[in-house]
Point group: D2
Chain length 347, copies 4
């Protein structure tokens, strides 16, 4: 950490900073120029709030933290890309992973038909919400345990792995009895006690980015999960909130290369929540894959105009069918592979 003093700072002010640093058991490295005095602070670990403590001292111009706050999620800690294997699907490797399914589990028929459809089109993991966070308390909030049972049934019939959201620590046990991957939604991205509890649950976790979460904060949220001993975290970008209203959210496609530069964790894109409109989903899916995403999580519904949630952004079966070969083509163009059932059938 570097403390930059105001131009022509007094000797007493400089000494006060140095004294404070030493009080904390750290070393201060003084560099005095004619106009500018800089104090390097060295020690390990630096208290996370140190910058705030030094910033308020007299005649301090600015405090600059040099070392990143994230550790376990960084390349220094884990120099190989993290690979997560779930029922035969390897996430984070050469193969692109497609997760698809309805926003909410509504009925057995709806879910199982969707599972068959998305599997046929190339997905290897089924998504579906049993516990739904809703902006208003008066909206449909999911089938709960019954929803989990339907997902498990869909898995049994299709062999797809399943992912579903958990919203509160008390539900981790029941959700964990069914799901293969825990999903933490955007609204809970900084629900730290949930992150820690799910970190102890022994299954992979997909962590969605909050609507106004810095990418560095997303890594720190992942750090909460990993600090509990769980290395299997998937980061998911799903659009951020900006002034633009033509889309439900603004897909920050740059999150893919930025996060991959900072972290060894797999990075997914959710084009459905970003777009909010079905017609935009194909373009955003292809963009995500071209940018290097490790996977996509998409909403597909047998009859989107009857969906109890997010119908406007869900693809129909034929739309999803038509899209996956286009995704496979872009994946191939950037050196990734999307194994399509059609190809497998031909092989």
């Amino acid at each position: 950490m570097i403390v930059v003093m105001k131009p022509h700072a007094s000797r007493e002010a400089v000494n006060a900073v140095v004294a404070r640093v030493k009080d904390l058991g750290l070393n201060a490295h003084l560099s005095e120029g004619e106009e500018l005095t800089i104090i390097g602070v060295v020690g390990s670990p630096l208290p996370p709030t140190l910058d705030g403590q030094l910033e308020v001292l007299n005649e301090v111009e600015r405090v600059v933290r040099i070392t990143k706050k994230h550790k376990l999620t960084g390349w220094d800690f884990h120099p190989q890309k993290t690979l997560i294997t779930v029922r035969g699907t390897v996430i984070g490797g050469d193969d692109l992973t497609i997760i698809a399914g309805p926003c909410s589990v509504e009925t057995e028929e709806q879910t199982i038909s969707t599972a068959h459809a998305v599997k046929a089109a190339g997905a290897t993991i089924l998504r579906g919400g049993a516990y739904k966070p809703r902006t208003s308390p008066y909206e449909f909030r999911g089938l709960g345990r019954r929803g989990l049972e339907i997902l498990a049934q869909a898995r049994a019939e299709t062999g797809l792995a399943i992912i579903t959201e958990v919203m509160t620590p008390a539900d981790i046990d029941i959700v964990g009895q069914f799901t293969d991957i825990f999903q933490i939604g955007a609204r809970n991205c900084q629900n730290y006690l949930l992150l820690e509890e799910v970190g102890k649950a022994g299954k992979p976790v997909m962590l969605k980015r909050g609507l106004s979460m810095l990418l560095e904060e997303q890594l720190l949220a992942a750090e909460y999960v990993m600090a509990q001993g769980n290395p299997d975290v998937i980061l998911c970008e799903r659009g951020i909130r900006t002034f633009e209203s033509a889309t439900r959210n603004t897909l920050d496609v740059s999150a893919v290369p930025v996060l991959q530069g900072m972290s060894h964790l797999p990075v997914f894109i959710d084009p459905s929540h970003a777009a909010g409109k079905r017609a935009l989903v194909p373009a955003l899916s292809l963009a995500a894959v071209a940018a290097g995403a490790d996977g996509l999580i998409m909403e597909v519904h047998p009859s989107p105009d009857h969906a109890l949630s997010d119908g406007a952004q869900s693809l129909t079966f034929p739309e999803f069918d038509a899209l996956t070969p286009r995704i496979a083509a872009v994946a191939a163009a950037v050196g990734r592979r999307l194994p399509l059932t059609a190809d497998l059938a031909l092989a």
Copy 2:
């Protein structure tokens, strides 16, 4: 709700919308112009996801929801301003309420000295975090139960009411044994199960706005609390996240008149978290009061440069002392009253 068809929409498309509306047990009111066909949808209650379901039908241009989604928080439901009485302090009435105290409860001495200082300067409620949400898992996260005990001791010594944050349903019981008001932090503003559980706990709740939360969404979050039978919710604006970096967050002072226009609930401002810098806190406090805020919640610390969190934005005792008479003057100018101890002493 109004469904606007695309110009020159076909008869079949119009009929399909009408049929869908009737399927749902609602009434459709058709208005056909030469160019424009509009379908009014009437019924009570309208399913909350109805707009999404109709938007995806063929040749629909746009669906416009007329009725607001919030109910219990609205003036229609409760035509008088909500007054909340906590240990003699009436929140939401003619008196302005000041809540002050440290970001975190660190020590008995720190907390109790602050309690005396803020009481002397005009505060009637003491704030202080025992359970702290932190962006990084490696930061100071509060004293937990010991922090609650210190707050209770400060209350016993000063007569101030106390407010402290609860972060997870499992902590509601223990926090509720001590606190007078539950605080729900910005990061948990859409942690719906926490909102519901705290709604059952029988004490007032202050609900901070999330960093990218629409004001209408803040009311819907309050709706979660109120739907559990708890009428005592305080809304708090604490800055939103924007592109501007000169302040920690951007104080949306307009939230005061907007929320007061939509809701009977008291509206507070937290100038400390909005500013992020001590020097800006006075101006923002005065602005908040002039805009009509029902109260302020502010950070005060005996020695901000030794604070374990948020030191840079905490006022010192002398700064807080100097500020409250200025707040009282602005309050008087807008027809509110801040009873200052000095005045009481004189009286």
Copy 3:
């Protein structure tokens, strides 16, 4: 336009709206339900400020504009995609167009070597600033006329078309003597008199999106150019300003399908200004092409660490060389073609 009255609005209020509409020579189409009264306003053209005028009338709940404000830029006006031909390059057709070059024209040698390099790698248009908008008046602001001469010389030597920015009406004449395409920068995107003057200048115009410009506003800005009789406008997304600081701006890749859905004009992406960092440019370029962009405009410099502006986001020649084949591969995967010199040489 639809005027929605407040629930149970009075007869007088409804009549007042109808009267006002008729005063303006428009027709009012009244639709009265039990709870809800809606007034459809029909007439052509509707005054652009009509919504504001009706919104303030008594007991009006909301005014909803149905017809889009943009006309000449919309598909209704021009049902074929606009193709713009510049020195043999057809913009907006099946071929992807790459514009590349330095941020600023600095020297003859720098510009001409870059022109050769980008041409060899697949670009068909050379970019370079002679008049530079700079946030601070103390920064390098371009070579002016000398810069234009250097660009023209680069064109003469390579056959590349050229694009350069014009910042003020007084410069249109001189810039127009040299350039093939006028570029309007993000800061001037709502400099309406400049837009009109450049609309009269008889050459294609690339219109960059402002940092906080709605996509609909970008179309309205294009409308200013087209209303002067100039059909050849290229829309360019170059990142918007959000809270995220890991990138210089946030690339709104959704702008591609959204604008293409609303307008017949070609849509380009500028990955360099969006990213602000060279290392992110390849991923964003590929994402843009996969999303369906009609072209890219990129910064390339012989020695970015000596560049007088935007060095951090400029690609070196080898980086650009390595990138265009990857762009070509993604283009092919989405049904576009980037003719590479290498291929041409082989053919």
Copy 4:
């Protein structure tokens, strides 16, 4: 400026930075710790693009600019608050200044009646647009020269000073023949050639903040005006663009203390454009004054529901009449004075 090298940076990389700095005629001050090497760069003036040039060198972690980019607008350059006197009104001093009037000059009667009304209520400067920037080319764009003549007539009848917008360099001459203060609108805030030309015109300039302009950028825009020898610049905050849609823009009231901390220039607030809704204007006006604004610029119209622009946010005469005494009361509470005609009449 400080260059922070990556941990354990190589000797060659450090030397390369030092060499580059010396090449530019600047001094490098090396500070090597065990883990961290920092290079202080000293010299005057530092090239404005120096950070970009150093950032791209090998093994450089980060470049931190210590000195602010703005100069003439800073307290160092001008340690007294700038006072601007316009026809007897002193802007920036103890008196609060109120500018009021219609968005657009529409008719002689409308403008002159407004001038009388706002003068009677306490305003000393009349606003009114003769040249209007409009998002769409199909909207009312002002009366042009005729509008200026009407403003001058209003001034002659009332003694109020006038302020009106200039949109393009070619109009500076004609606008300057009439106006007392030039207004540069939000859309032209980075139209640098306009800023320079208006800087030469010998009259005060009000510079509105752009919708996504950093406060530091607003100072740099003012720097363009001041660098032409014009010291009389007024900064105006008028709301920034954020995700919140309950208001037209988000009033950044913190801009007042932040700008006043950085600059000696007067700071105004435009509550009308920020709110976009008449009902919110009083609260925002009072907040602005309490935050320490040097003045307000507000929209007032004899019949807002007939206004050709911005009717929804314009106050009626009675509303404005009722508001100014409340503004005067808050001004008094924060040590400012708003001389009201009523008081003057009494005196």
